[in-house]
């Protein structure tokens, strides 16, 4: 069994491809169909392109805050490829690639960071919960989703993301323990990107691995090379099978690195050395996946150039559209507090409209 073999206390990290995308553990190489492999790669490239552009837009003052994902693509796309459509994705906030893979549109994802709640209203059939800002609290949502799936005896799991920093939160503990108690079909991915804003993981977490936190809950845990899409895929696929069989939740630590700043308001040069970043750039997940695909004759340099061009254009067009349609109407900020406006809110809205009228201000921003 994978999770026995990679018991976190043994100190071994699951890796299937090396830094260059060469298979180093062929016993474990998962059989993934061509279509899925290409979807994985294309999502990663789209995520990266959108990420880099978002940083530019932000510098131009056209986008608000943004939390980049560069370097963490495999930790997100590997897991998503191992899921089924009916599975639920419960987000923290740095899972741009996972969202795209799971059906959130690029436009929605951008719209959110543009500052419009409509960007969190994903399409009806898309089983993704909105970005979750209060660190740790999403774990508990995932347990509830998973409880319902289990109660209804459905072939569904909930997968939930959290950062290395987030594991220190009380809600992480309560949620993991709760999920363990009822053997819920839940998979937790810790994106250990080595930092919580300016705070290095090793400075505030004494445990040698984050995967070993599984032991506290009596569940399986595994440390995985988070920049290896195949390893992430395999870990999640195995965890999913176990979850569906009733073996309960799994804790997966994806060892990765945040190449960019925490958000666009952050300056990482204040707290880390460039050399550290350079070391991690060598482990770029996109490069690895590309080499792997080329090695398998599923991809070529020419196609790659084309893809990059195409996606760059897509990103520019999409963002332009967001800018053109991303304003918020007055009613929108009132309409969703309750199913129906309460008398109180109705009064407040009317008061405000009256004020706007009295002052001759157009009813808009």
């Amino acid at each position: 069994m994978l999770f026995d073999e990679y018991n976190p206390l043994k100190g071994e990290m699951l890796q299937i491809m090396d830094q260059e995308g060469k298979i180093v553990n062929d016993k474990l190489e998962p059989k993934i169909d061509k279509e899925t492999l290409l979807k994985m790669y294309k999502t990663m490239v789209l995520g990266r392109t959108a990420d880099e552009k978002a940083l530019q837009f932000q510098r131009q003052g056209r986008m608000l805050t943004y939390a980049p994902n560069i370097g963490q693509e495999a930790a997100q796309v590997g897991p998503m490829a191992a899921l089924k459509d009916q599975d639920w994705l419960v987000l923290a906030f740095r899972e741009f690639n996972a969202m795209l893979y799971k059906g959130v549109t690029l436009e929605q994802a951008f719209l959110y960071w543009y500052g419009n709640e409509r960007g969190s209203r994903y399409d009806d059939e898309v089983r993704v919960l909105p970005i979750n800002v209060p660190i740790g609290s999403q774990i508990n949502h995932a347990t509830g989703v998973a409880y319902a799936s289990k109660l209804k005896e459905l072939d569904e799991v909930a997968i939930v993301f959290i950062g290395d920093g987030g594991t220190s939160h009380g809600e992480f503990h309560e949620g993991m323990n709760f999920a363990a108690t009822y053997d819920l079909p839940m998979i937790t991915i810790i994106q250990n990107n080595q930092y919580a804003i300016s705070t290095p993981r090793h400075k505030v977490i004494k445990a040698k691995t984050l995967a070993q936190k599984a032991i506290a809950y009596g569940i399986s845990g595994i440390q995985v090379d988070g920049n290896d899409p195949l390893a992430m895929y395999l870990a999640v696929k195995t965890a999913r099978e176990r979850a569906i069989k009733g073996y309960g939740p799994t804790l997966i630590e994806a060892v990765t690195y945040r190449i960019g700043p925490h958000t666009t308001s952050d300056n990482p040069k204040l707290y880390r050395e460039d050399t550290e970043v350079e070391e991690w750039l060598k482990k770029d997940p996109i490069k690895r996946m590309k080499n792997y695909l080329i090695g398998k004759k599923l991809w070529s340099e020419e196609k790659d150039v084309e893809l990059h061009e195409e996606l760059k254009q897509l990103v520019l067009d999409t963002f332009k559209h967001v800018e053109e349609t991303g304003e918020v109407e007055l009613n929108e900020v009132f309409d969703y507090t309750y199913e129906k406006l309460t008398p109180n809110l109705e009064e407040q809205l009317n008061y405000y409209k009256e004020y706007l009228k009295a002052e001759g201000i157009k009813d808009g921003n």
Binding site: N140, G144, A148
Partner: protein, 325 residues
């Protein structure tokens, strides 16, 4: 129809709603096997099984947070906080998620869940078992806050809360769980959320109360038969039933608000502000509030100083009718 206590009414509402709707689940600390420390959920696990009625770890944030997730995945969770004082570890979940999911997702997800919690003093309990935390929930946009004061309302309001598409905090005045019985219909029925109850018509002044204090107000009326008070049981603390209150104050011109929550920044302040906004010119006296002092609810030996008595209410009534501007 039979006479029932508040406790029995709550239990019956839960039972009937579970029976009717398989998506209802009931859980919390000691809620399952034992049926709750107050026995409000007694018998439910036996009837509906361990999957729909269950005991949880001592993890209030997980209880509420999981209810958020369950609601999103099609369930109607009714969770219990063992005492309202122990809802505080879940406060982050309640404020940042329960109250906000509909807005955050622009209506894609909504949370038809109910969070039940016994509240209030007067039962000689340990620290943190006696507080009245209405303000903490009423101040949060996206929540509704309901408090019954009778067995009839307890059943009808709880059913309405379960059927409500918005999340409802349901505070139960534990002091009167078993205090008295009332005829309560055996069928399912709703008492509408957002509507106050006119307990007694009157013309000299308006008294607004809720929960266990409604009975204390009624006792105070007997101490002051010469004052013809109009008594309103607010029932829903948020959203407030403006209409009933304002109509009454316009008639009486004098208003006393009685609550056990501490005074400063408490619920009475909001009622006074609303009355000022909507009925200022009708006021014949400064509105008064009789509330808990701004202190921690004392342990039992000191608690009598904190608990509001019919005598105090009567004293306040007199002050109000005596007021001359």
């Amino acid at each position: 129809m039979a006479t029932k206590t508040i406790l029995q009414s709550i239990n019956e509402a839960l039972d009937q709603m579970m029976e009717q709707d398989p998506s209802v689940v009931v859980y919390g600390e000691d809620v399952g096997f034992e049926g709750g420390v107050f026995r409000t959920t007694a018998g439910l696990q036996k009837k509906y099984g361990e999957k729909r009625v269950f005991d949880t770890p001592i993890s209030e944030a997980a209880i509420v947070g999981s209810a958020v997730g369950m609601s999103i995945n099609g369930m109607k969770p009714i969770v219990e906080m063992q005492f309202s004082g122990f809802s505080l570890p879940a406060y982050n979940q309640i404020v940042t998620h329960v109250a906000r999911f509909r807005n955050r997702s622009r209506g894609k997800y909504h949370l038809p869940l109910v969070i039940r919690m016994p509240y209030g003093g007067g039962v000689k309990a340990l620290e943190h078992h006696s507080e009245s935390l209405e303000t903490l929930y009423a101040h949060i946009p996206g929540l509704k806050l309901v408090i019954p004061s009778t067995p009839y309302d307890a059943k009808g309001l709880l059913i309405a809360a379960i059927n409500d598409p918005d999340p409802v905090i349901f505070m139960e005045p534990k002091r009167i769980y078993r205090a008295f019985k009332q005829e309560v219909p055996d069928e399912i029925y709703e008492v509408p959320i957002g509507k106050a109850r006119m307990v007694k018509k009157g013309k000299d002044l308006t008294i607004i109360a809720w929960g266990a204090l409604v009975r204390e107000v009624e006792k105070a009326l007997e101490l002051k038969p010469e004052i013809d008070a109009e008594v309103i049981d607010l029932r829903t603390i948020s959203p407030i039933d403006f209409e009933t209150i304002i109509a009454s104050v316009k008639k009486t011109g004098r208003v006393l608000i009685v609550h056990e929550a501490v005074k400063s920044f408490g619920p009475a302040a909001e009622l006074i502000a609303i009355i000022n906004e909507k009925a200022f010119v009708y006021l014949e006296a400064a509105p008064r509030r009789l509330t808990g002092f701004d202190i921690t609810v004392p342990l039992p030996k000191g608690e009598p100083y904190f608990i509001i008595t019919p005598e105090q209410i009567a004293y306040e009534m007199q002050k109000l009718v005596d007021f001359k501007a």
